[in-house]
């Protein structure tokens, strides 16, 4: 049972256990990636930039401006001193924490959270709000923490294989991604 493709992860089995560990390596497809350090409105605005920069409010400072050829200054720090400006430049650290929606080969879905680590495969320098192409293969090795049915993962237990461009799943998940993401964020009940 060491072939992760043949192993399943059923979160139901762990639902009532505050903390446990996976016993086998499991292969998953990454169905969705969400940065839980950001509010929905912040994520929505990021996506809107890709749809049409003219639809995004220009009343705040966009510090990255990346991804569009029209750099919009959308928000300004108007604190009454220059100290805030200095602080900003020194505190630009990566505050993102990603929550992955995973599906194993037996159609079991679960969540995996980055835990006390920054997973390198999610930090590709992509300017899109979703940092990797969806549908890629991720192997989570045995010994990963499971709490309340969700995985808490760090780089030691993750092996990212990447996407198979010819896969129907990859095509389906990534087609029209901007529109889909905006739609979901604008209609959370969907």
């Amino acid at each position: 049972m060491s072939n992760p493709e043949r192993n399943a992860f059923n979160p139901q089995e762990f639902a009532n256990k505050p903390s446990d560990q996976t016993r086998l390596p499991v292969a998953f497809n990454v169905i969705h990636v969400d940065d839980i350090s950001k509010s929905k409105i912040a994520k929505l605005e990021e996506w809107m930039k890709y749809k049409d920069p003219n639809e995004v409010g220009v009343d705040r400072l966009n510090r990255s401006g990346a991804g569009t050829n029209q750099h919009i200054i959308r928000e300004i720090d108007v604190s009454d001193n220059d100290n805030a400006r200095l602080m900003e430049t020194t505190s630009l650290f990566d505050s993102s924490v990603y929550k992955l929606t995973l599906r194993d080969n037996f159609d079991n879905y679960c969540f995996a959270y980055e835990y006390n680590d920054k997973l390198p495969f999610l930090r590709t320098g992509s300017t899109l709000p979703i940092p990797i192409k969806l549908g890629g293969k991720l192997i989570i090795s045995s010994g990963a923490t499971v709490a309340n049915g969700a995985l808490l993962v760090d780089r030691k237990v993750c092996k990212y294989i990447g996407v198979d461009e010819s896969s129907e799943l990859v095509k389906a998940l990534n087609s029209n991604l901007v529109e889909k993401s905006i739609n979901i964020l604008q209609n959370p009940e969907l």
Partner: protein
């Protein structure tokens, strides 16, 4: 040898005359009631003692317009994007034209004492053209252009003795800007007004401006953001520790997350540990930095924040102080003092003041009090940062706004020449399970610049009890708490100025004017709520921006966002730097607006329907 000097304003003519003549001038009335002529003698290097006449204009003396056959109603508005334009004497300033032509008759040289900025250079060219009407021998080669940024005696004398040439590239840039503003402003204003009047939605003229609409766009965007705001829940771990009878709250290093399950899981992990450990205690020196040298935009922002003045009021007050010779030229982007500037002599003049004199004296006499000013990133190479030029007793400034601005300019200058405020920051780091929490205390030890720059505060906080690294502590409280995102604030003038500056809408000199214009045109309204003054769009303003947003223009352009204007501003810079021609820049810009115009005209019904939604 006769030299005709022309200043941009009567007050500047008077001040410069006073310096160059040493107080020995004769005043003559001119055909223009407010623009007197002053006769005196002055020695110009290489030309000896010359007869000088100093006169003035009042800003631009010509205007650009379309020929009469292109008047409203005579041609379709779109024709104005291609129509010929003519530069002609401003009808209200014919007396000034005549005075310059008369005084130029016997002049060998023309000395242009207009402000040393883009518009000042263009006004200089207009003065030359007026002078040529009276003296055809005058040409660009007989124009002297002194460069000055304040009215202090030695500075003015040096500028008069070392004049340069009129910069025609700058003049071309202004002509380009004027032509774009005229063509686009007139065509879209007529189109918009005609469309909305036909639909009986407005009676008055609905004016479009390439700067005003993006400015209005900022206000509308913020209003919508506030109106559409929906609070979102977030969760965080909150802890406190009791030590030496003091309860200390520790903040979670990860701040918060928008996922309750995740926070609860982290909390449960922490709960496996019955106690926390002080991982480390650091006490480090910290500074509160003195301000950068003062630019126009900073002046406007600070006057809005500290004195609730509009950008226009602040700039008007600063202009008056400049014209009185008390502060340097107030339109500048430069936030670094030139190395050769004698800052100490300026400080010296302020030692006599009853309010800040004691502080100024300490800068001159106490070791370690004086500090080299910080250097910003901007240098417009024309003017130094705004600074006091002459000492004035505040009691003698009768205008309340001017008094506040003068005091602010002086205090800001003295702050720039001071040392940073200093203190110590103590940070205690608590480890509980896998999570880190921090508490801090600030002890301010030297206020330095804050003693004179009273607009800012930086105070000591409650000190931390004596935590020791490795110390085991019991948590007094540890819980998962829920919070909610707060709505953004409505737009303030301070923020609007900053946004316009950052997005290249207008220049330091015109930002105030654009805000004032959209208020006059009832596109925005200012409202006082609590301590702050907020800016809201009116129904008319909302309707206009949303109407334009409803049209999908080609090439991703927008008539209510800042991109097009920003693009024009950078083209103007390229003209000034000789990297683009006026013709090329005009062609590029107008062609974009032409496409937008055609689509606006085509999609009239969409525009009207969207506009209607916002009218009650």
């Amino acid at each position: 040898m006769k030299v005709l000097c022309v200043a941009e304003k009567p007050s500047i003519a008077k001040e410069v005359t006073s310096v160059l003549s040493g107080g020995r001038s004769t005043r003559r009335d001119s055909r223009s009631k407010y623009n007197a002529n002053f006769d005196f003698k002055f020695t110009f290097p290489g030309h000896g003692l010359c007869d000088v006449t100093m006169t003035s204009v009042t800003g631009h003396i010509t205007s650009m317009d379309f020929p009469a056959e292109y008047a409203w109603g005579r041609v379709p508005p779109g024709r104005l994007l291609d129509a010929p334009v003519k530069i002609q004497p401003d009808k209200s300033k014919l007396a000034i034209h005549q005075n310059i032509a008369n005084e130029a008759r016997s002049a060998n040289y023309l000395m242009i004492w207009t402000d040393c900025d883009r518009e000042g250079e263009a006004i200089g060219y207009e003065i030359l053209e007026a002078a040529k009407k009276g003296n055809t021998r005058l040409s660009l080669s007989s124009v002297w252009r002194p460069h000055f940024s304040h009215l202090e005696k030695n500075h003015i004398l040096s500028a008069a003795r070392n004049p340069q040439n009129l910069n025609m590239k700058t003049v071309e840039a202004v002509h380009c800007r004027q032509e774009v503003d005229l063509r686009v402003g007139a065509s879209f204003t007529r189109l918009l007004t005609d469309i909305l009047r036909r639909s009986k939605l407005v009676d008055e003229i609905v004016s479009y401006g390439t700067c005003q609409f993006p400015t209005l766009g900022f206000v509308v965007d913020r209003y919508k953001r506030v109106k559409n705001f929906v609070p979102e829940k977030f969760w965080y771990i909150s802890t406190s520790v009791e030590k030496s009878n003091q309860t200390v709250s520790f903040s979670w290093a990860k701040t918060h997350f928008f996922d309750r399950l995740f926070v609860v899981m982290l909390y449960e992990e922490c709960m496996k540990s019955t106690h926390g450990t002080i991982k480390g205690v650091t006490r480090k020196p910290t500074s509160n930095f003195k301000p950068f040298p003062l630019t126009t935009v900073s002046l406007q922002k600070d006057c809005a924040t500290y004195f609730k003045m509009s950008a226009k009021e602040a700039l008007d007050a600063a202009e008056k102080l400049y014209q009185s010779g008390w502060i340097s030229y107030p339109r500048t982007e430069t936030d670094m003092f030139p190395p050769e500037m004698d800052l100490r002599s300026i400080i010296q003049t302020h030692t006599q003041d009853s309010r800040w004199g004691h502080y100024a004296t300490s800068l001159m006499t106490v070791d370690g009090k004086y500090g080299i000013p910080r250097k910003g990133r901007n240098n417009d190479k024309s003017h130094p940062p705004i600074h006091p030029v002459k000492y004035v007793n505040l009691e003698t400034i009768t205008n309340d706004k001017q008094r506040k601005v003068y005091e602010y300019v002086v205090r800001r200058f003295l702050a720039c020449c001071s040392t940073d405020a200093k203190g110590f920051q103590t940070v205690a780091e608590l480890q509980w399970g896998n999570e880190t929490f921090r508490a801090s205390g600030l002890e301010v030890t030297e206020k330095n610049y804050l003693d004179v720059y009273t607009y800012r505060t930086w105070s000591s906080t409650e000190q931390l009890p004596p935590f020791v690294a490795g110390e085991r502590v019991n948590l007094k409280s540890a819980e998962v708490k829920e919070g909610k995102t707060s709505p953004p604030n409505h737009m303030t003038e301070t923020e609007l100025i900053a946004l316009m500056d950052a997005n290249g809408i207008g220049t330091d000199a015109t930002i105030a004017e654009h805000i004032h214009k959209i208020e006059q045109r009832s596109y925005i309204t200012k409202k006082k709520t609590g301590k702050s003054h907020i800016i809201l769009p009116t129904e008319l303003g909302m309707g206009l921006i949303e109407a334009f947003s409803s049209i999908s223009f080609a090439n991703n352009i927008s008539l209510s966002k800042p991109f097009l204007r920003k693009r024009l501003e950078s083209l103007l810079k390229e003209i000034e730097e000789g990297r683009a021609t006026k013709e090329f820049s005009l062609r590029e810009t107008i062609s974009l607006y032409k496409n937008a115009f055609a689509l606006t005209a085509e999609e009239q019904s969409v525009l009207v329907n969207e506009f209607k939604k916002f009218q009650t």
